[in-house]
């Protein structure tokens, strides 16, 4: 799983149920990079194809020009993937004693 996929999956998991705009804001804040709407939705599509998230459609909203929101939720497989990613990162760092110097200003 790539870093954007992981960040998107985490953003969905953090909110319980989230839609594209909220996910994009959260991912952009966490990764300190302004991701485009297209990038986030193609990632969400990929995660849904892998069975890591599922979605449902809300009622149409006037603020969206009469369109619905697609609300995403993490599946069991998605939760497992998050636990695996956390475990992998933790085991990679464990006992290394590596000190990373901060980036020069």
């Amino acid at each position: 799983m790539g870093s954007l996929e992981l960040a998107v999956l985490l953003a969905v998991a953090g909110d319980g149920e989230a839609y594209g705009l909220a996910i994009r804001r959260e991912v952009s804040r966490r990764l300190q990079h302004d991701y485009s709407v297209g990038a986030v939705y193609t990632t969400l599509e990929r995660l849904e194809r892998k069975g890591l998230v599922r979605s449902r459609i809300s009622e149409p909203l006037p603020v969206r020009g009469g369109r619905s929101r697609r609300l995403f939720r993490v599946t069991r497989a998605g939760e497992r993937a998050l636990r695996d990613a956390q475990r992998t990162a933790a085991s990679l760092w464990a006992g290394r004693g590596v000190t990373i110097r901060p980036e020069p200003a």
Binding site: S36, V37, Y41, P60, V63, G65, G66, R70
Partner: protein, 216 residues
């Protein structure tokens, strides 16, 4: 699910950018999701930062998202989709060619009136005249491709445009009968023409679309 589109809001997103995104995302869930999110964020920005800033943001966001949506659409294509799009491109070419041939006499008269001539009619062929003719075929073909493939209008038009440009390039490189500027300028002009034709078709379709949309 789509409800009647709001027609009361004062600020509206830039039309061309919205058409470009709609054309790339296509009909269906992805298109509605992307357009909905952009409309929502646009309304928020228009209220807080002003309409001008919101429109600039929308244009920039449309351009940034375009490549992702296009790549996503291409990745999702299967063999039968490719065959279908090539069929649409061929039909568009035949239809555009017939239409241009039918109106050819009038166009020829118009061009001759402006001092242009055609290969075969004089010893000095007018490649500008031919380039204009090719652009007309490309624009018309782009319109027809978007008309025939309403679910993926821009993708269909691009397949048509790229096929036409490749054919033109092959003819120019293979037979080397045209001047160098023609061989360099016309293929990209053809692709631009097909995009313009497809966007025109989409603008017409969005104007005639009933306000109470179909369900997703």
């Amino acid at each position: 699910m789509t409800a009647p589109r709001s027609r009361t809001s004062v600020a509206s997103p830039p039309r061309l950018a919205a058409l470009l995104l709609e054309g790339l995302a296509g009909e269906g869930e992805l298109g509605d999701d992307v357009m909905g999110d952009l409309a929502e964020e646009f309304a928020h920005r228009a209220e807080h930062d002003g309409t001008g800033a919101a429109r600039r943001w929308y244009r920039r966001e449309a351009l940034r998202s375009a490549s992702h949506l296009f790549a996503g659409r291409v990745r999702a294509l299967r063999a039968k989709d490719v065959a279908h799009l090539l069929g649409v491109a061929l039909s568009s070419y035949v239809l555009a060619f017939v239409l241009v041939s039918v109106t050819g006499v009038a166009l020829r008269s118009l061009l001759v009136a402006f001092g242009a001539s055609f290969p075969g009619s004089t010893s000095d062929p007018s490649w500008i005249g031919l380039a204009i003719m090719a652009l007309v075929v490309a624009t018309m073909g782009g319109y027809l491709a978007a008309f025939l493939e309403a679910r993926r209008p821009l993708l269909a038009a691009l397949v048509f445009g790229v096929s036409l440009a490749t054919l033109e390039l092959w003819l120019n490189v293979g037979f080397a009968v045209s001047p160098a500027w023609y061989g360099v300028a016309v293929p990209p002009l053809l692709v631009a023409g097909t995009i313009a034709g497809a966007l025109s078709r989409m603008a017409v379709a969005s104007r005639t679309r009933p306000p109470a949309g179909a369900s997703r």
